[in-house]
Symmetry: C2
DNA sequence: GTTTATTTTTAGATAACTCTAATTTTATTT
DNA sequence: AAATAAAATTAGAGTTATCTAAAAATAAAC
């Protein structure tokens, strides 16, 4: 089964939307996610249906098939491996990698990905803390909790962010709340839901509820 | 100036043909080089002419412009840097890299190439011994001679091959005549132009004129 | 120096992907 | 449940890159 670059991008978006949103994925959602028009999406859905990577009945909605999931996870695996490469080896900042990885993920060569995986020492998580599927599409995801839902005196490690926009990532980097940072909740303000945290046992930091709710922590 | 992937491939082929063949590059030559039909080439030449990367007058022929050369060399630079990466870091065999590098060379990110160059320690030659242009398109190429044109008792180092087909590269690897190997011409047979060489001061080897003419040696 | 052969270009089609505008279907309101 | 709003789809057209077949231009042969 061979997918074009465009098909891979649509399928990846569909997979991500299916995972988070839970309920059925709408044509408009996909159009928004992938920055295109609904008309283009309709067309592509028909094609993806024919290729049996989604089940599609027009006006009714769609569901990703097992085949589709496997293929989407392969693309996601490639994307995240390349992100690790860019950050670990080429010293990209973690908010600079997305655009380039978006291109690299479409390179076709299973040998390349096997070798890259080995070269990077079989990483299990990308620089944003998201899990890297293995070659069969299996993901071992750690249980995580949003920072604003933690209790006072609880500690843990920042392992991922929900919003991975460049602006947000830059902000986090600036205040020192990078992926991997060990944190502890010092105080929570009932009034506005903001939190005070201790980062790496040395720096205290205030965070709005908005920001904290976008940070995922592996509790310890 | 932005070129599409297809345009980059055409331009690269044109550059290579201009360099070796010397005289003007024909539509059919290009078609053969990139495995397409002459009709497609005609069409593309018109477009490349409009973009001013070649000078083109139909039926008369073409000439690559300075702009075209610069852009072609940028693509070649990317291709060769990726080849170094694949061989040095991911342990690809030197006859497995071409197809993958052919894809990687079209990734668009100047930052990526700068970082890759640094990561590989600013290599000056790719695994086939071909020089890697710098970011301004300058190439420092070593004077080289075809193996079949060397005289008896002359020695040197294999630095490149003309024919870099997988079959040829595999053959060379098999007989131990890899890039970097030190060789010495022991004998030349007038009759058929074949040569006898000593490889790495231990192994003697017979080579047909055909094979020898495809091997480039840096004399010492 | 015509005639034939080769090379190159144009004409017309196709495939993938995108768009705007119009239409159809489903959802919401009253 | 009829009227209106929203969402999704189709129709038609444009772009890029490719092809086959036909026509035009150049080169080679006699």
């Amino acid at each position: 089964m061979e997918l074009t670059t465009a098909e891979e991008n649509y399928l990846k978006a569909i997979y991500h939307l299916s995972e988070e949103g839970k309920k059925s994925v709408s044509t408009n959602d996909i159009a928004a996610a992938i920055q295109t028009k609904a008309a283009s999406v309709s067309d592509m859905l028909r094609k993806l249906g024919e290729k049996e990577v989604i089940q599609y009945r027009k006006y009714y909605g769609l569901q990703i098939t097992e085949l589709g999931k496997r293929l989407a996870l392969q693309t996601i695996r490639k994307h995240r491996l390349w992100e690790v490469f860019l950050v670990d080896k080429l010293h990209f900042a973690w908010d600079e990698v997305h655009e380039v990885a978006e291109q690299l993920e479409h390179i076709q060569s299973t040998l390349l990905i096997e070798r890259l995986d080995a070269y990077l020492n079989y990483p299990k998580f990308d620089p944003h803390g998201d899990p890297i599927p293995d070659e069969y599409g299996d993901v071992r995801s750690r249980p995580r909790i949003a920072l604003n839902e933690m209790n006072i005196d609880q500690g843990g490690q920042i392992v991922a962010v929900k919003d991975s926009s460049a602006a947000f990532l830059r902000y986090l980097d600036k205040v020192g709340a990078y992926i991997g940072a060990r944190i502890k909740v010092l105080d929570k303000v009932e009034f506005d839901g903001s939190v005070e945290i201790l980062v790496d046992q040395k720096k205290t930091l205030f965070m709005s509820k908005d920001v904290a709710s976008n940070i995922l922590v592996l509790q310890s």
